[in-house]
Symmetry: C2
Subunit: 356 residues, 2 copies
């Protein structure tokens, strides 16, 4: 493979702070009517005309949330936006604007930041989100990305974590555990690369799960789908930390219990085969893995006919009275309490996934 | 001085991420009607009912924006909020909510983060701002604070950098250069401390300028004052980078020129005496120093009688046609072009301030 050994490196300090912001944001054109003023003043000005404003913020730190040895900067920019707007969709709202702040050490030349912003721009384009402000600064070590996402919704649309009722159905979009297993593959290949840098791994059997890790897609389509189906979810959250943690959030906030059925958890075949390869329990991975950015929500049983057989949605359990607790109903029909770390298995055969 | 050599140190990891957020935010109670839902869901929900939403964001990095060897964490938390809400006031708007994200290395125990949040809380209380969300995470090195400030204003109130007209008066609140000279004192004392840690410096002659550096106050009062005086500023910006940089922003965005009068720049006596002590030109300090967080704005000459003799406001110049350029009119009545680095002095006696 021919590699350019001398890629272009322009020092960020040549541009200065204002020059850098101008340079990185010049191709971002606002498309929302609500964006009255974007980048270029002390603050951005938005007008949501009767809608409520929804705001969420996340911080991604190199070495904690991402590893640049296997994460292309463009993918990182894309993912950083997904992580944030996913929280807006989890309010059953529409993401409309973001602010992006970055702190980067002098290890990152202008071209690296351009790559990062190319990913941010692609995300903005695909998800119809306006970049309206931000801050760029230097750091002593590494790269840090702080994004605030802004969205809008009517009073009737907004869905909190707190509205689930006993007997409501628990529904997830997409499939679970892929991002975590993709990370396992990438971490393994990183170790192989350290030993033998000339090794060219065949990653094609893992393409789906690697994409789930490196280039996740937020479920913008789900709030729209639910609207089209005339389903008002009673509670909603995005799956960023793993199914068990999110179920506990809904149960705690809604003061309900939950029965989750192990055999209903949607798993991609690549997740199942890779779990076998790593000798990991796929249910543990789904419960504890995280970073899938699917939406988890509850609906009234009356709405079941509207979502039944929809390929994007899977009913995985139902809510119960608070006193009944939060349980996994296993394939063997035993009832195991779910904790935030997955579940308290009585079985010694249960492989624990490791999370930092 | 008796010092507790074993202050309490609780590891942040004992609490976990959600525990940490709950712990740090539990005393923050929303006071604004517009705060429908604050901390505790995927996103916050705000309702500005007919007002426009104003949003600004800033990132503060240890070693770049602050030095913890002389910055108490509580002051840092307070200042971080000031830096952000100042941008909202600079839109002639009212700051109503903030989100706060922090990345901290394991050098910072829980007690340190509590100190930081105590400062954030005091700022929220004094400025009537609701904390509505955020993120806490670990970093590999140092402390980083990312704040997004949200505010509201009517269409008529919002003031951009772009509305100044030739012949408008240029007005500043407060006095300029104090924060920069306070920093000089703190940096000098840090060097003295390195040589002789037992030295107890008498900083009382510098109390005002040190406070300007460590505990600045954003000018929330100015938008209200202008409303009371029935003055609608034509353009506005906050003085974060020094007077010259801000004047250039207004001129560039408004397509006008400016004459700034050296003898009108308001300077505190401590700034003048400390400049003499450091052999620095006080005008250079005011033009290039930064971090004063005063508001700089333009008004129509017709409004002059309304602000005349107001102790909070000083007319320091007037706007001209764009072609006339941006100049400092010195005490000696010579005309010197202003650049973003201060001004291009022809005089060799002009002491340049140093900025990183």
């Amino acid at each position: 493979m021919l590699e350019d050994k001398n890629p272009k490196r322009t020092s960020v300090s040549d541009l200065g702070e204002f020059g850098l912001i101008d340079h990185l944001t010049k191709y971002f054109d606002p498309i929302h009517e609500s964006t009255i003023k974007g980048v270029g003043d002390d603050a951005a000005v938005l007008d949501f005309k009767g809608h409520k404003t929804v705001i969420s913020t996340d911080l991604l730190v190199e070495g904690v949330h991402f590893d640049l040895s296997y994460t292309p900067l463009k993918h990182l920019g894309y993912k950083a936006v997904m992580v944030n707007i996913s929280d807006i969709y989890a309010m059953n709202a529409l993401a409309t604007q973001i602010t992006v702040s970055i702190a980067a050490s002098n290890r990152f030349p202008l071209e690296a930041l351009e790559e990062l912003y190319a990913g941010i721009q692609l995300a903005c384009k695909n998800y119809k989100v306006d970049l309206i402000g931000g801050d760029t600064t230097s750091s002593n070590k590494g790269l840090l990305i702080s994004i605030t996402a802004i969205g809008k919704a009517t009073d009737n649309e907004i869905t909190y974590r707190s509205g689930a009722q006993p007997n409501d159905l628990l529904v997830t979009s997409g499939d679970i555990g892929g991002a975590y297993m993709g990370l396992q593959i990438l971490e393994r290949e990183k170790e192989v690369f350290k030993v033998n840098p000339n090794n060219q791994p065949d990653l094609s059997p893992y393409s789906y799960i690697i994409e789930r890790q490196l280039k996740p897609e937020a479920r913008k389509d789900i709030p729209q789908l639910l609207k089209d189906l005339e389903v008002k979810p009673t509670s909603m959250i995005d799956i960023s930390d793993g199914l068990s943690s999110e179920i506990i959030h809904i149960c705690k906030n809604s003061k309900v219990g939950c029965n989750l059925f192990e055999d209903k958890i949607p798993l991609d075949p690549q997740v199942i085969s890779t779990c076998e390869e790593f000798d990991l329990n796929s249910t543990t991975v789904a419960l504890s893995g995280g970073e899938d950015y699917e939406l988890l929500f509850t609906i009234s049983q009356d709405d079941y006919p509207k979502i039944k057989a929809n390929p994007h949605l899977t009913v995985i359990g139902h809510m119960t009275a608070e006193g009944e607790g939060i349980h996994l109903i296993t394939r063997a029909n035993t009832k195991i309490p779910i904790t935030s770390m997955g579940w308290n298995s009585y079985s010694e055969n249960n492989n624990e996934t490791e999370k930092d």
